[in-house]
């Protein structure tokens, strides 16, 4: 029962390995199935149709915008959650993470009742002449809503691991909080921020339910790639499969960017916490556990 701590222990029970193979198959097999279904002869025309290109372009644009929004909104939030000390801090953290587990359609409804015509802010927006529903802005809002937790989790993890030693030193040397944040904190959390941003982008790219509920579906305006796939499936399964493959390819590229290279994104920045970067793997911070 007692294990000696310092020795790396590599024994894995056989049944665990068996189940691991099974679990890998759960993910890999459907991907193989979709590749097997692709109509390669028509692949290029299918993925370069006007509606497909519109959808892909819209998806990339909106995902980039929502990632940017996630960074702008997420960095302060993560900083406050990791370093601040105020009442209901834990409650706030739980609430912020809620979109991770919420069915996207619920998120869509929540956004509708916030920004919709008859929503919480609907009257105020109408006075200002802003219409959000059925616009590209609605798509970006929906994506930001579901993707923000990924950035906050990644960043909060990086902030906690990083500790505050360097900041403390900078402060004792007379640097005001603004300068400490810009010159010390920001460079330190950059790797965590980058992996969080990549994850947010990936989540935005796959957003479906909230967009469908809140933004609607119109070519070039609100019909992102996942919505286009869902629609094409009605009449042209070949097109749906081809577009699915495009989305899978983009997702693979994004995941590879975040985790694939040895060292990953986490290694680009300074690692003030040294090599002992073993820590509990929260979903977002997992990118940092590379040794």
């Amino acid at each position: 029962m007692k294990l000696r701590a310092r020795q790396p222990y590599t024994g894995i029970p056989r049944w665990v390995s068996g189940l691991a193979v099974l679990s890998a198959l759960v993910v890999v097999l459907p991907l193989v199935a979709i590749v097997a279904r692709v109509n390669w002869a028509n692949f290029i025309p299918l993925v370069t149709s006007e509606s497909a290109l519109d959808a892909l372009g819209l998806s990339l644009r909106t995902s980039a915008a929502s990632t940017l929004l996630c960074i702008v909104l997420g960095v302060p939030l993560a900083l406050v959650l990791a370093r601040g000390s105020f009442p209901f801090q834990r409650l706030l953290r739980s609430l912020v993470l809620l979109p991770l587990v919420l069915p996207p359609v619920v998120g869509g409804l929540a956004l509708l009742y916030t920004f919709g015509r008859q929503g919480l802010l609907g009257g105020a927006l109408q006075v200002l002449g802003i219409q959000i529903a059925f616009s590209t802005t609605a798509v970006v809002l929906a994506q930001t809503f579901v993707a923000l937790p990924f950035l906050v989790v990644s960043l909060e993890g990086a902030l906690r691991i990083g500790g505050q030693k360097y900041e403390a030193v900078a402060a004792t040397l007379g640097a005001p909080p603004g300068v400490v944040f810009r010159r010390v904190t920001l460079p330190l959390i950059l790797p965590g921020l980058a992996s969080g941003a990549v994850l947010s982008f990936a989540r935005s790219l796959g957003e479906f339910g909230a967009t469908l509920t809140f933004a609607g579906s119109l070519q070039g305006v609100t019909r992102t790639l996942p919505l286009e796939i869902y629609l094409q499936r009605e009449t042209d399964p070949d097109a749906a499969v081809a577009l699915s493959l495009v989305l899978v390819a983009v997702a693979v590229a994004v995941v590879a960017l975040a985790y694939g290279r040895p060292g990953g994104l986490q290694r680009q920045g300074p690692a003030p916490w040294g090599g002992s970067s073993r820590r509990p793997t929260t979903p977002g911070a997992a990118g940092g556990t590379v040794r």
């Binding site: 509708l112 919709g116 015509r117 008859q118 529903a133 059925f134 469908l212 509920t213 933004a215 609607g216 579906s217 119109l218 070519q219 609100t222 019909r223 919505l227 869902y230 629609l231 094409q232 499936r233 009605e234 009449t235 042209d236």
Partner: protein, 264 residues
């Protein structure tokens, strides 16, 4: 301690997984192995718009045929047709359009000719009180009016396009939804000023939307065909159910939901 927790979690996950598997395979198994009262299950795949009427008819059928249980599965017709051609164990298929029924007949999975049991036409749905004061089909093309329709790829969108074409009106919807229920949702929530849905959808929405009938709707009448499937375990029960739908009891229930009478 920690290990205990891990084991417990693993066991839970495993148990949940097994329970899930058992749950999904149970209906097929129990139908075959039930011994005493020879209870049979009739599985009916029906278009989503038939939900309330077919639920009522299933109860009537069970009352008329003691020992037979009707299991209903509602979804979009194209989803159901795909499931049937992929081997889903259904006994009866009721589609919201002929196109999706054709997929099943072409695959050789229908038993006999499908029969049309109901029709449905489009109506304009507006939020309760009609805030944008829509009075007819021409109004839908008005500048600044937020119209939502189905996409052309789905039956309700194809019908909308046909009607607009015949009426010579160019529609510029702010959103083209995948399902008629999504269109209705945008209207009930007040986001859209008007939506093109079926007469039956307006009925099912109760007082949350007002309906504006328009004569141009006659240009696109949607037929609902029904057929027994060749894979049906109990052909007799399947035929009996279809007869109930086509008979006066069935037609009465369907008319109450807003459907037009079937032609054949």
């Amino acid at each position: 301690m920690k290990r205990g927790v891990t084991t417990a979690v693993a066991a839970l996950v495993l148990a949940a997984g097994l329970a899930g598997c058992a749950g999904s395979s149970a209906p097929a198994g129990s139908a075959g192995t039930s011994s005493d009262d020879a209870a049979t299950t009739l599985t009916v795949f029906a278009a989503a718009s038939l939900k309330s009427s077919f639920t009522e008819l299933a109860e009537t059928f069970e009352a008329q045929h003691p020992g037979t249980r009707v299991s209903l599965s509602f979804a979009g017709s194209s989803d159901l047709a795909t499931q049937i051609t992929q081997g889903a164990p259904a006994d009866v298929f009721a589609s919201a359009d002929t196109k999706n029924m054709d997929k099943v007949t072409v695959a050789g999975l229908a038993e006999g000719e499908p029969r049309v049991f109901a029709t449905n036409t489009l109506a304009i749905a507006v939020p309760a009180g009609n805030p944008a004061r829509v009075t007819g089909f021409q109004d839908l093309a008005r500048d600044g009016l937020r119209l939502v329709t189905c996409a052309k790829q789905v039956p309700c969108g194809a019908a909308a396009a046909t009607v607009a074409d015949k009426a010579g009106v160019t529609l510029r919807p702010v959103s083209e939804e995948n399902a008629v229920t999504d269109v209705l949702g945008k209207v009930t929530s007040g986001e859209a000023d008007a939506g093109l849905v079926y007469v039956t959808d307006v009925k099912s929405a109760g007082g949350r939307v007002d309906s504006i009938p328009f004569p141009e709707a006659g240009a696109a009448v949607n037929s609902y065909p029904i057929a027994a499937l060749s894979g049906a375990k109990n052909q007799e029960a399947a035929k009996a159910f279809i007869n109930l739908v086509l008979g006066s009891d069935g037609q009465q229930v369907l008319a109450k939901a807003g459907f037009g009478a079937g032609g054949q």
